[in-house]
C-alpha cells in the first residue's frame, strides 16, 4: 500500500529549494525593496534611523521566512496549539509588564526588540483553528459543543487586544479566525446570529470605546466634521493620494509627507506616501504585488492535500488580503481609521515578523504539500 509518509522523508534540501514558489518570493522581495525606498523617503531623503532599522528587519525576517518554510508542515501542525498558548500568555503579560506608548499598552520589552504579541496572535489564531478543524470531522463542525472551543479561542485574544486598547489589530485577529471558521463549513446561520449579536452589542461596545476611537468612527461618517482634529488624517491622506495624480510627484518629492501633513507616515500611512510620490501607476503596482502574493498562497492551498494546509493557506491568504484591504481602505477614506499596518511596507518589527512567519508557514505547506498530517 502506498505510504505517503515515505515521500516526505525523502525530500532533500535540494528538493525543498526547487519547490520554492518563485513568484511568491519575488513579490515579497520586490515589496521589501519598495518598502526600504519608501522608508528612505519618510526619513526625508536621508539614510536615517527608520530606513536602517527597516532594512535590517526586512533582511532578518526574510531569512526567517526561508527557515520557517523549510520546517515541515507537520512541525507547524504539531506546534500550533503551543504557539497559540505562548502568544496568549504573552498577551496577558502585556497587560502587566507591557510598555505604554501613546496611550496604548501593546509592547513587551524583549531587549533586542519590542515585541507586539497581538501581531503574532494574527498567525497564532489561524494556526490553532486550522489544526482544530483539521482534527474534527465535517459532520461535527456545526454541533454546539464543537463551536464553543473555537469561539473561546477567538474571543479571548480579541478581548485582550481590545483592552490594550488596539481596535485595529483586534479586528484583524478576529478576521483571520472567522475566515477559518467560515472555511470549516460552519453554517451561515451561525454567522447571521453572530452578526445580530454584534450589532445589538455595538452600542454597548461603543460606549466602552475611548473618546479618540469614537471620534474616529464619527469622523469617518463625516470627515468635514472636524477637519483639524480626527478628520485631519483622512483629509490630508486623501489630498496626498489625490495630488499624486497619474504618475506621482516623483521620489522624495511628496510635499504632503515632507511638510509633515501626513500622520503616521512610517506605519499606517506608508501607502499614502508611496501613492503621492508614484501616483496611480505606483499604487496599482503595489496592489498587484499584494494580489500576486494572495494568489500564490491560495494556489498553494489548492495544491496541498491535507485539510490543515488548506485551512491555513486559505485563511492566511484571506487574512493577508484583508490586512491590505483594511489599510488601503483606511488611507483612501473608505473605512474608518482603525490603525492597521500595511503588510511588509509599514515600519514595525512585530508586524513584519508575523507576516513573514505567516508567509513562511504557507511556503512550508507548499513545499510539503504531499505530506499527510495527523
Amino acid at each position: 500500500m502506498f505510504k505517503p509518509g515515505a515521500i516526505v522523508s525523502r525530500l532533500t534540501f535540494r528538493d525543498k529549494v526547487f519547490s520554492l514558489d518563485i513568484i511568491l518570493i519575488v513579490s515579497i522581495l520586490l515589496l521589501g525593496i519598495i518598502s526600504c525606498f519608501a522608508m528612505y523617503s519618510t526619513d526625508g531623503g536621508e539614510f536615517a534611523y527608520h530606513t536602517k532599522s527597516h532594512i535590517v528587519r526586512f533582511f532578518i525576517f526574510f531569512l526567517l521566512f526561508f527557515v520557517v518554510s523549510f520546517f515541515s508542515s507537520t512541525f507547524w501542525y504539531n506546534s500550533s496549539t503551543i504557539f497559540y498558548l505562548i502568544v496568549l500568555v504573552l498577551l496577558i503579560s502585556v497587560k502587566y509588564f507591557g510598555l505604554t506608548s501613546s496611550g496604548s499598552q501593546r509592547w513587551l520589552n524583549l531587549y533586542f526588540l519590542n515585541l507586539q504579541p497581538s501581531e503574532l496572535m494574527k498567525i497564532g489564531l489561524i494556526l490553532f483553528l486550522a489544526k482544530y478543524y483539521h482534527r474534527i470531522s465535517s459532520t461535527d463542525v456545526n454541533r454546539l459543543r464543537y463551536l464553543l472551543q473555537p469561539l473561546i479561542a477567538l474571543i479571548a485574544p480579541v478581548l485582550l487586544v481590545v483592552i490594550q486598547p488596539d481596535l485595529g489589530t483586534s479586528v484583524l485577529i478576529a478576521v483571520g479566525g472567522i475566515a477559518v471558521i467560515w472555511l470549516a463549513g460552519v453554517k451561515m446561520q451561525f454567522f447571521a446570529y453572530l452578526g445580530i449579536i454584534f450589532l445589538s452589542t455595538a452600542p454597548v461596545v461603543i460606549s466602552f470605546l475611548k473618546p479618540y476611537q469614537k471620534s474616529r468612527i464619527l469622523t469617518f461618517l463625516d470627515p468635514s466634521r472636524d477637519p483639524l482634529g480626527a478628520g485631519y488624517q483622512i483629509t490630508q491622506s486623501k489630498i496626498a493620494i489625490g495630488s499624486g495624480g497619474l504618475f506621482g510627484k516623483g521620489f522624495l518629492n511628496g510635499s504632503q509627507s515632507y511638510l509633515d501633513y501626513l500622520p503616521e507616515k512610517h506605519t499606517d500611512f506608508i501607502f499614502t506616501l508611496f501613492s503621492e510620490e508614484f501616483g496611480f501607476f505606483g499604487s496599482i503596482s503595489i496592489l498587484t504585488l499584494y494580489m500576486l502574493i494572495t494568489w500564490r498562497i491560495v494556489s498553494i492551498g489548492n495544491m496541498v492535500r491535507g485539510s490543515f494546509g488548506k485551512f491555513y493557506c486559505y485563511s492566511f491568504a484571506t487574512a493577508f488580503f484583508i490586512y491590505v484591504a483594511v489599510n488601503m481602505g483606511m488611507v483612501l477614506g473608505l473605512i474608518p481609521i482603525v490603525g492597521a499596518p500595511l503588510p511588509i511596507l509599514s515600519y514595525g518589527g512585530s508586524s513584519m515578523m508575523a507576516i513573514m512567519l505567516g508567509l513562511g508557514i504557507a511556503m512550508s505547506c507548499g513545499i510539503h504539500k504531499d505530506q499527510v498530517i495527523g
Partner: protein, 643 residues
C-alpha cells in the same frame, strides 16, 4: 481509514466551495479599491493638487508704496515716508490675551483698540498679521524692540505711509485712508489688493488717480509645514510702486492763496486760459490730511465736521453760489449774440425799476443815472441788466451759460465736484414743478435766484471769455495734453486773419469749439471788464494793478443769500452789521494780463460782504505773484518738453 478519507474528501470540497465565496468577495473589494484610486488620482486629481498646494504655500502680501503727486515744478505735494509699525502674527503668539495685556503697558492701547483688534484677528487667517499700531513714535518703537524677547509673535516693522507736506493742497489732493467695505464694492481694482496696511484715496486727486497710484501689491510666498513653520522661500515680489503724477498746480501760488484766505471761508481758482491748466485751487479753511492716513480720532473728526467753515469741503468745486453780478458777462454776450440789444442802448437807473407790479432794486440806492452797456458792466448797474434780461429771456441766457460750461462738471473724476444749476423755464418745471415767473428772469439777469455755480465754473467762463471765446478743457494732471496747441492756433489766427476755411479746418482737426457767433461780442465784454477794473467808478478800481504787463480786468459779484426787507434797505444796513450767516458772498472773476491775456481767476469769499471789498483785493495779490511767476512756468514747460 476509508471513511476518514471519504470524510476528508467532502471536507476539502466544502473548503473549496467556501473559498470560492471568499474569492468572489475579494474581487469586489479589489474593484472598490481600484475604483477609489481612479477617482482620487485620476478624476479628482486636479482638485487634490490644488489642495496640496494650498497646504504647501502661504502668501504674505504687502502694500506697495503709493504714487507721488508733484506740482508743476516738481515739488512733492503728497509723498511717502518711513513709518514704524507694530504687527502681530496671531499664529506665532503664545497667548494673545497676555500679549495684549503686555502691550497695553508698553504702548497707549485702549481697551476699545484691543477689542477691535481681537475681532479683526477672529475674522482672518491665523498667519495674517494684524497691525496693532501703524505709526509708532521712535521712542515707542525702541521700547518695543527693548522688550521684544518677551513679546512672542510681535513684529516691529518699518513700512511706508502717505505723507502730505502742504495743508494748502488738502482739498484738491484729497487724502487716503483705510479701505472700507464701500471702497471694495465700488472700486473693482481693489478686490485683490485688500492687504494689511493698504490705503485707498478717498477724495480729490487721491481718489481720481487711485487706480494708477496704488501700484501692485508685493508678496512673499513660502513653503510651510503642517505647523505653519516657514520651510523655504518660493518666490518674492516687491510689487510695483504706484505711478507718480505731475500736476499743473503751483506750490508757491497755492501757499500764497491759502495764506490770503486765512481765517476766511472761500476759495481761489486760477486757470491757464489756453491750456486749461489749473494753477491754483485753494479752499479755506483747510485741514490736515495726514490725520486721515492712520485713522482720524473721534475728537479731530468732530472738530472738522462741526466747524462753521466746513473745512472738509473743497469750496472751489463743491461750493455752490449764485454767481451774482459776475453773470453779467454772459448776459451781455448772450444779448449781443442774439441781437436783442444794441450796446449803445442807454437806460436810466434810478436805483430801482418797477416791472410787473414789483419793485426791482439796483445795488446803488441813488442809481447810476443814464448808462450804456459798457458803463453798466463797469459799474455793475442792476437796473440796466434787468432790462437786458427782460428782452433776452431766461432760456436764451441759459443756453449761453451752458455753452460756456455752467451747469456741468468742469473736471473729470472728482467725486466731490458739483455741477450746479443753470435755471430756465424747463428746469423749473421739472425740478420745482412751477411755471417760470417773468420776475425771476430779471433776478437771473443779475445772477441771483436759482443760479448755482462753483468757483471753478466761474473761472472757466472767465478763461473762455479771456481767450477770445474758445472752448477749453481744464485739467489738473500734466499728462493730459488734449488742448496743447490752442494758444498757437489763436495767435496765428489773429495775425493771419481771415482765411475762414483754413480756420475751420484747423478747429475741426483739434476739436476746438468756438463759443461765439461774432468775436466782437467777446471783445466787447473784455473791454468793459477793463473799464470795470481800471477806470474810476469801476467796481474793482481800488484793486487794480498799474504796472505794465500786470494790468488785469475783472468783474465783481455779490451773491445775496437773503432778501432785503424794505426796512433794511431804508436803513442801508451794511453787511458787517449782519450776523455772519446772513452776510453776502463776495465774488470776483478776472483775467490777466489785459493785453495778451494768460490766466483767469475766480475768488469767492463766503459771507465776505461785497466782491469789490473782500474778493478783489485777494485776486489782486494773487495775480501779482502769478504774473511774476509766469516766466518760471514757461521755462519749466520748455524743460519739461526737452526732458
Amino acid at each position: 481509514m476509508i471513511s476518514d478519507r471519504a470524510g476528508g474528501e467532502s471536507k476539502i470540497q466544502l473548503i473549496s466551495r467556501r473559498m470560492f465565496v471568499i474569492s468572489a468577495a475579494k474581487t469586489v473589494v479589489i474593484l472598490g479599491i481600484v475604483g477609489r484610486l481612479i477617482s482620487l488620482q485620476i478624476n479628482e486629481s486636479n482638485k487634490y493638487k490644488t489642495l496640496s498646494d494650498k497646504n504647501r504655500f502661504r502668501e504674505w502680501k504687502f502694500a506697495p508704496p503709493r504714487g507721488i503727486i508733484k506740482d508743476y515744478f516738481g515739488n512733492e505735494i503728497a509723498s511717502n515716508k518711513q513709518v514704524y509699525q507694530l504687527h502681530v502674527i496671531p499664529e506665532n503668539t503664545e497667548n494673545i490675551n497676555s500679549l495684549f495685556f503686555r502691550l497695553k503697558t508698553i504702548l497707549n492701547l485702549s481697551d476699545k483698540d484691543i477689542f477691535r483688534l481681537k475681532r479683526k484677528i477672529a475674522s482672518q487667517k491665523p498667519w495674517d498679521p494684524v497691525i496693532v499700531s501703524d505709526n509708532l513714535t521712535w521712542s515707542e518703537f525702541s521700547r518695543i524692540n527693548l522688550f521684544l524677547h518677551e513679546l512672542q509673535g510681535v513684529e516691529p516693522t518699518i513700512s511706508v505711509a502717505r505723507v502730505y507736506h502742504q495743508e494748502s493742497f488738502s482739498h484738491v489732493i484729497g487724502y487716503v485712508s483705510q479701505i472700507s467695505k464701500k471702497d471694495l464694492q465700488n472700486k473693482e481694482y481693489l478686490r485683490n489688493m485688500n492687504v494689511v496696511g493698504m490705503r485707498v484715496g478717498k477724495t480729490g486727486l487721491e481718489n481720481k488717480l487711485d487706480p494708477e497710484m496704488v501700484g501692485s501689491i508685493g508678496y512673499k510666498r513660502y513653503e510651510v509645514n503642517a505647523f505653519g513653520k516657514r520651510i523655504k522661500e518660493i518666490s518674492i515680489s516687491q510689487g510695483e510702486s504706484g505711478k507718480t503724477f505731475k500736476t499743473t498746480l503751483d506750490l508757491e501760488l497755492q501757499k500764497l492763496s491759502t495764506k490770503l484766505l486765512k481765517d476766511k471761508t472761500g476759495s481761489v481758482c486760477v486757470m491757464d486760459i489756453y491750456k486749461g491748466d489749473i494753477v491754483i485751487m485753494a479752499s479755506s479753511p483747510t485741514f490736515d490730511p495726514n490725520k486721515f492716513v492712520h485713522g482720524i480720532s473721534q475728537k479731530d473728526w468732530k472738530q472738522l465736521t462741526q466747524h462753521r467753515g466746513k473745512p472738509l469741503v473743497n469750496k472751489a468745486m463743491s461750493g455752490l453760489y449764485p454767481p451774482g453780478s459776475t453773470i453779467k458777462t454772459l448776459v451781455t454776450i448772450s444779448a449781443l449774440e442774439n441781437d436783442v440789444v444794441n450796446p449803445k442802448m442807454v437806460q436810466q437807473c434810478k436805483g430801482h425799476i418797477e416791472l410787473y407790479g414789483e419793485k426791482f432794486h439796483c445795488w446803488k440806492k441813488k442809481g447810476h443815472g443814464f448808462v450804456d452797456m459798457k458803463e453798466a458792466i463797469k459799474q455793475s448797474c442792476d437796473v440796466y441788466f434787468y432790462e437786458v434780461a427782460r428782452r433776452l429771456g431766461v432760456d436764451r441766457l441759459s443756453e449761453t451759460a451752458k455753452k460756456f460750461g455752467l451747469g456741468k462738471k468742469v473736471l473729470e473724476g472728482f467725486l466731490e465736484e458739483k455741477q450746479g444749476v443753470v435755471p430756465n423755464t424747463k428746469w423749473k418745471k421739472t425740478n420745482i414743478g412751477q411755471n417760470w415767473y417773468l420776475g425771476e428772469t430779471l433776478h437771473s439777469g443779475i445772477g441771483q435766484g436759482y443760479w448755482q455755480t462753483t468757483p471753478l465754473q466761474l473761472c472757466l467762463v472767465m478763461a473762455q471769455i479771456a481767450n477770445g471765446g474758445y472752448q477749453i478743457k481744464p485739467k489738473i494732471i500734466l499728462r493730459d495734453k488734449s488742448f496743447e496747441g490752442l494758444e498757437e492756433f489763436i495767435r496765428n489766427e489773429e495775425t493771419s486773419g481771415e482765411n475762414l476755411n483754413a480756420i475751420e479746418g484747423f478747429i475741426g482737426k483739434l476739436k476746438y469749439k468756438t463759443l461765439f457767433k461774432n468775436q466782437e461780442n467777446i471783445n466787447f465784454v473784455k473791454e468793459a471788464l477793463f473799464k470795470a477794473t481800471n477806470e474810476p467808478r469801476g467796481t474793482s478800481y481800488r484793486s487794480r494793478l498799474t504796472k505794465k504787463g500786470f494790468i488785469f480786468a475783472g468783474k465783481t459779484g455779490t451773491s445775496q443769500i437773503r432778501k432785503f426787507t424794505a426796512l433794511q434797505r431804508e436803513l442801508e444796513i451794511k453787511n458787517v452789521d449782519l450776523p455772519y450767516e446772513q452776510r453776502d458772498h463776495a465774488l470776483f472773476v478776472a483775467f490777466a494780463p489785459y493785453h495778451d491775456p494768460r490766466y483767469a481767476i475766480s475768488v469767492v469769499i463766503e459771507h465776505g460782504g461785497s466782491g469789490s471789498s473782500s474778493a478783489a483785493p485777494i485776486a489782486k495779490q494773487v495775480i501779482k505773484k502769478l504774473l511774476e511767476r509766469h516766466s518760471l512756468r514757461e521755462v519749466q514747460q520748455i524743460k519739461g518738453e526737452s526732458a
